[in-house]
Symmetry: C2
Subunit: 213 residues, 2 copies
């Protein structure tokens, strides 16, 4: 009867701010704080105190007037809301230069993200291991994603292949795509896409620099 319930669905802007709160809470805990008030967090982060109060309240930890939230319980609750309290397995599709760089990025571990397997269409890469992750052919994607019950796909393929690969991920049961391509993916509503478009970001910077020199 007492099954573990999944965390409540929270507003996306709150979720986007949670990693920043988490860093601040971690610093306060390291500094020896046992209780943390939303006012202190808001001040340290330069945020609106009302916003910080609402965001932290949504973590569902009972706070005490004047003292604030118990620091460790608040940290745990935010980690849980982010799904960072247990490992999230992911697959990476496209082992080019960016895919390879992400496979080598150790920062994901901090957030309990683990890339279980990588896929590529290049036969020359088959069976090779990059940063401890084995490359498999695209044909194996549906079977492996289902068998490993993986819900997150990291897309680092060339633009021309992006939509087709996203379609394959969705068909295999993925419910979140981390899209590092420049393509606006067309996916069903139930699938969440987060775009990290380095070319777009660089465009703004290099345009700014070009027009000022």
């Amino acid at each position: 009867m007492n099954e573990q319930t999944p965390p409540a669905v929270l507003p996306l802007p709150t979720i986007r701010r949670y990693p920043i709160y988490l860093r601040c809470i971690r610093e306060l805990i390291t500094a020896g704080e046992l209780h943390i008030s939303s006012a202190v967090v808001a001040e340290r982060l330069g945020l609106d105190p009302v916003l910080a109060r609402k965001d932290l309240a949504m973590a569902g930890v009972p706070g005490k007037p004047r003292r604030g939230y118990p620091a460790l319980a608040l940290q745990d609750a935010i980690n849980k809301a982010l799904g960072w309290d247990s490992t999230t397995d992911a697959v990476l599709v496209g082992v080019g230069s960016l895919g390879n760089a992400l496979l080598g990025y150790r920062g994901f571990e901090e957030h309990n993200l683990s890339i279980a397997v990588a896929f590529d269409a290049n036969p020359g890469l088959m069976g090779l291991t990059f940063h401890g992750v084995k490359v498999r052919p695209m044909e194996d994607l549906p079977r492996l994603v289902r068998r490993l019950a993986i819900k997150l796909g990291i897309l680092t393929v060339p633009s021309a292949a992006a939509q087709a690969c996203a379609d394959q991920l969705v068909a295999a049961g993925i419910c979140g795509i981390w899209n590092f391509t420049s393509v606006q993916l067309d996916v069903p509503d139930k699938v969440v896409v987060q775009n990290v478009d380095l070319a777009q970001s660089l465009a703004v910077l290099s345009h700014t620099i070009a027009t000022r020199s």
Copy 2:
């Protein structure tokens, strides 16, 4: 008298879309097209035709009714507007796991971005070369950025060091910061910041997956 004028300052949303147009234009040129109309580009990219017409007109290439723009001239003009027609030199600050991954990312070359030198506070890294880029101590940052006339800084330091490093970059004359930390940087108005917050992006995905399983 006939000095080369810098490209006009364009609206940021247009600049953000330019890399996507560029990819489409490159594909059409590869397919043998000599002229490109905004209507064709809009259709291929699923964009509003009025928006695409305005965006492409801002590149400043004279088009012809019915035929469209000369393909190569349009490609050159967009590359120029993005500052991708000549090499942009950058410095990278923070040679941790992410900094190292970015130093190894060959995709920047496609956009004529070159990381000239990297800085780190860790004495153990001094003088080492990662992916062909030498690591220098932070003390050398002001002098080297000025001497090499570098305008773009890539920030991949731990959060706690982010603002101080940004301050050093700004003081050295940087006018664009590519911020891969989770910190909202406080910089003068004349400095453009582009945030790529992987933790925030991952938070949305892992929260979604945690609340659906």
